[in-house]
């Protein structure tokens, strides 16, 4: 363990994955995570360790408490190695929307790690010590970077893990999840961090589960649905080919394959962004520079003071989302945007529920392309960046669990196979991911 901080520092110098690195070792303890360094996404509170959620407005914030998921890891003997860099509040697909470190892709440093849990994914890929990452997804922030960096990213069912201590982005969408080099690591971490919590009333009342029991090398009889819409226009041909190869591999191991249709896949993007921005704009209302983070001297009246702090503390994407989200909830526009988006979400959920009557899991590419270059990202208009989430937002809107597993590379850049299952069916995902991995 002694070398972990030194190794983490060396990785950070090369890949810029941390916002904060632990400055001292903790006493070694026993438990399921004994000897494991756990990194925590920067939007999840860690006691006395800066938690800025990738935003200037929270710079210097030192939480006086641990998030429930962090506490659970410590109780199992884990050592919290540091806070991984991210898009500000989770607002982004490439981890470039932050005034702090922008992590670089471990397979090509001119390219993005993906976002918003970019630091977590890159660190997971390159860590040369026992490591697991706590990440978080609102619309694809675990799957996307996991795919781009070539690691396993597990987003649990909405409400499987407690969000107490999370700097929230969108309350009806946020899920704390895991990243690891293998499905086994993700299964272990999920077993530790899931479960009821009296501080989060949205945690589902389901008993704790040991997901490592699902590390079984068998997909015999598993019915896999392949949604046509996830291989449609905009999905790179080489990416699609690799993902089909992975699906065929699972078929060869005894799974059966059938085509399914999720007709509201395309429109899920609009619904997702309207909901996410609406909720974000209310969540960000609490940041006014009085109690923590950026706190300039008091000048003028409260309107002037708060507007000034927020204007300085939020970066571009956060401002854009506050504006759009506030707009979507305003009298006169609310029905056409916010409420309409919630109704479209019902349609998206119905699509998945219908599919899961026919099949056990769904398989698709995680991202439509491989990791783009930073110079390409800089030229993308916001709407084009949002469109990169076309394959991850629908399952996130529906709150179903998903896992991204590496399934090869195009031109040296990793591609992710995305497996999705019905609510609370993480076990099937872990089993299928594990069987694919070991074969």
């Amino acid at each position: 363990m002694k070398n972990v901080i030194r190794k983490a520092t060396a990785i950070d110098e090369k890949f810029h994955v941390f916002n904060t690195i632990a400055d001292r070792l903790e006493a070694e303890r026993e438990g399921r995570l004994a000897g494991v360094a756990v990194s925590v996404k920067d939007n999840i509170c860690t006691k006395n360790m800066e938690t800025a959620a990738g935003s200037k407005i929270l710079e210097g914030y030192s939480p006086p408490f641990d998030a429930t998921v962090v506490e659970k890891c410590r109780n199992e003997g884990a050592f919290i190695v540091g806070k991984t860099t991210m898009d500000e509040f989770g607002f982004g697909t490439f981890n470039v929307n932050t005034p702090y470190s922008v992590p670089v892709n471990p397979h090509d440093t001119d390219r993005s790690c993906g976002g918003s849990s970019g630091g977590a994914a890159c660190l997971t890929a390159v860590a040369d010590f026992p490591h697991l990452a706590i990440a978080e997804s609102t619309g694809g922030s675990i799957s996307c970077p996991a795919a781009f960096c070539g690691v396993v990213g597990l987003t649990p069912t909405y409400g499987r893990t407690s969000r107490w201590g999370l700097v929230d982005y969108a309350n009806s969408l946020d899920k704390i999840g895991c990243m690891a080099k293998t499905a086994a690591g993700a299964a272990l971490l999920l077993s530790v961090i899931s479960g009821p919590d009296e501080y989060d009333s949205t945690v589902l009342g389901v008993p704790d589960e040991d997901f490592t029991r699902r590390l079984v090398d068998s997909v015999e009889g598993l019915e896999i649905g392949v949604p046509d819409e996830y291989f449609a226009e905009g999905v790179d041909e080489e990416v699609a080919k690799l993902v089909w190869g992975a699906i065929k591999c699972l078929e060869g191991l005894g799974a059966s394959i059938q085509n399914v249709s999720l007709p509201h896949t395309g429109v899920a993007l609009a619904s997702y962004y309207i909901i996410a921005m609406s909720e974000a704009s209310t969540n960000l209302a609490k940041f006014c520079g009085l109690r923590y983070g950026l706190q300039p001297p008091l000048e003028g009246n409260f309107e002037e003071q708060f507007s000034k702090v927020r204007g300085r503390g939020f970066s571009d994407e956060a401002k854009r989302r506050v504006i759009l989200g506030t707009f979507a909830r305003m009298a006169g526009y609310r029905d056409a945007y916010y409420i309409k988006a919630m109704k479209v979400r019902t349609r998206v959920i119905e699509d998945f529920k219908r599919a899961f009557k026919e099949v056990d899991i769904l398989a698709a590419p995680t991202m439509p392309v491989t990791a783009p270059r930073f110079e390409e990202i800089a030229e993308m208009e916001p709407i084009r960046q949002y469109m990169m989430d076309m394959l991850t937002v629908a399952p996130n809107l529906a709150g179903i669990p998903m896992i991204s597993v590496p399934c090869g590379a195009v031109g040296g850049l990793p591609v992710g196979l995305h497996l999705m299952a019905d609510h609370l069916r993480e076990g099937e995902l872990i089993q299928a991911a594990y069987a694919y991995e070991v074969n």
Partner: protein
């Protein structure tokens, strides 16, 4: 409804004011254009038939969780991160 929608600088300025967000002239111009582009792309929601569809505020059914209403001692200082304190109070800007 969305047909008659007119996004202009004035509207964005009004939104920024109610969101307590100080924007520069350049930001106002840029966000107005981007807002137009984004909302234009999101128009496709109008094509989905949502008559008689209930909105989903949550992806799963969420039940309220109850616990005993009993006071509990916390070992941390809620003002520990604040620079604007006076005694055990947080000092804020003028209301008027």
């Amino acid at each position: 409804m969305t047909e008659s929608l007119k996004i202009d600088r004035e509207l964005v300025e009004r939104i920024a004011k109610v969101s307590r967000l100080e924007l520069t002239e350049e930001e106002l111009e840029r966000f107005t254009e981007q807002l137009k582009g984004i909302l234009n792309a999101f128009k496709e929601m109008d094509e989905v038939d949502t008559d008689d569809v209930e909105p989903s505020f949550h992806p799963v059914e969420v039940k309220n969780v109850w616990r005993e209403d009993r006071a509990k001692r916390w070992d941390w200082d809620p003002l520990g991160n604040s620079e604007h304190t006076e005694g055990r109070y947080i000092k804020g800007p003028k209301i008027t």
